[in-house]
Symmetry: C2
């Protein structure tokens, strides 16, 4: 693990690191915020998964994250959204390839060699966090924004014992039924839709609800709301499945980090309460 | 005034605008955050002056500003740091020309035609703010970062009745005695140093202290501390002049917006208290 930069902020430490990932076959960059409470012992760990085009810096610079993490005493890890580099396949569009990993394991060429962001986040990066940071790995939560909200919901529902709390800002909840998801799943997973359901939060929750109470905030001025996000689909699926959900529709808010920053403290408080 | 973008954030409104400036002879862009308290009547106005290379977006995106402004009920205006555009002279260096206006009125060519950021901020932009926003112009404060901290200190000391409260993050306090200031003043004001003192906070405070209590935060891990910032020079000048000053030396903090965000709420609270 190679340290790229370190910043003191809100009495804690934000650090950025590179490491060689065996899962993606690339150098992967991530950031970790460690709150002041960690000086006296391990603290819970939250995983923040970012949206299309983003890397660690968006939420750490614009998300009002460190203040909330320092207030509630949690570590937050911000992985990248895909493998990157000249050797990694890409697409000219912002919603496919580098910056658009969709938190799944690609089965199709040219993506299959490097794109496995779900396994990177669940199987590889946790060992690094556990080894190098004062993290209580028995208390983990997961949250994210847009494509990263999709990642948080699906990874929570598939691994409820690992990610015991879950929340999302403006998540993609039904990728099998919206343009972003259909495009990405077709490219990464192929045309046979039988392999898609394991990466669709609506499908997953209908199969098995979790014991957690999921929090979602959705801005009503979000330009992606009607075509790409459709939170009502997840709301209905949760009712049908008996999944506890609070879906807050926030008037006037868009898809930006100004929206995320506004409700960041609520989300981190939600996780801190659930994780004890 | 032309609206460029508007965002809802922390229950208030951030808006970005262009206007034709008679002072600079260019289109100038600025941002204004209006807190929810302004729905029921005019609120105090704070002017945030940014540092080298910055524009309105740095503090509005990374400064944790809106949360603090919403908590304390103040409008914050973020002007640009210089005139910009193809018709405006520039320099390849980051610390001269566009993005580096130094909050002064240039007397030397090629700068004199456009560079007058002090007059833009004190004489022109306030009328626009008063006309278009719910601003109580009898209660104004000023603060800033680095070069913008220099701007805040000097404009406060020159116009204490206008900017009744003042604070700064890692300000340039003695431009006549540090490389950034000497380079800029030589270019903008010429080699005759008799014209420089009106733009040097240490010189101004020795001439006349204000009634305000100035707050300065300075990170001790700031790489510009020893060569460019030298807060001890202002500390000494304030003692000599009887100027009330709290200079907080913050261990571990650097020159970045991670530092500014950490102490933003303290600064806005400082202004809100002073402005009543």
């Amino acid at each position: 693990m190679k340290n790229i930069s370190t910043f003191r902020t809100f009495n804690g430490t934000l650090s950025v690191h590179d490491h060689d990932s065996a899962v993606t076959g690339t150098v992967m960059r991530f950031a970790v915020y460690v709150p002041p409470q960690a000086e006296t012992g391990p603290v819970p760990v939250l995983w923040y998964l970012s949206g299309l085009t983003c890397n660690w810096s968006n939420v750490m610079e614009k998300g009002n994250l460190q203040q909330a993490a320092a207030r509630h005493g949690v570590i937050v890890v911000a992985p990248d959204t895909s493998p990157r580099g000249e050797s990694v396949p890409d697409d000219e569009a912002y919603d496919l390839g580098q910056g658009a990993g969709f938190y799944l394991t690609a089965t199709q060429e040219p993506w299959a060699k490097h794109f496995a962001m779900d396994r990177y986040i669940t199987d590889e990066l946790p060992d690094i966090i556990a080894e190098h940071f004062p993290a209580d790995m028995s208390r983990q939560g997961i949250f994210g924004h847009s494509m990263g909200g999709h990642g948080a919901l699906t990874l929570h529902l598939k691994h409820p014992g690992t990610y015991r709390s879950c929340s999302a800002f403006a998540p993609i909840v039904a990728p099998m039924r919206v343009p972003w998801g259909i495009k990405a799943f077709t490219a990464y997973l192929g045309g046979d839709r039988s392999g898609w359901a394991q990466y669709d939060a609506c499908e997953l929750v209908r199969k098995k609800a979790s014991d957690a109470h999921i929090l979602i905030d959705q801005g009503l001025a979000d330009t992606f709301l009607e075509d790409q996000l459709k939170p009502e689909l997840f709301e209905t699926a949760c009712v049908d499945a008996g999944q506890q959900l609070t879906l807050r529709r926030q008037a006037g808010y868009d898809h930006s980090y100004y929206f995320i920053a506004t409700f960041m403290d609520d989300h981190i408080a939600h996780h801190a309460r659930a994780l004890g």
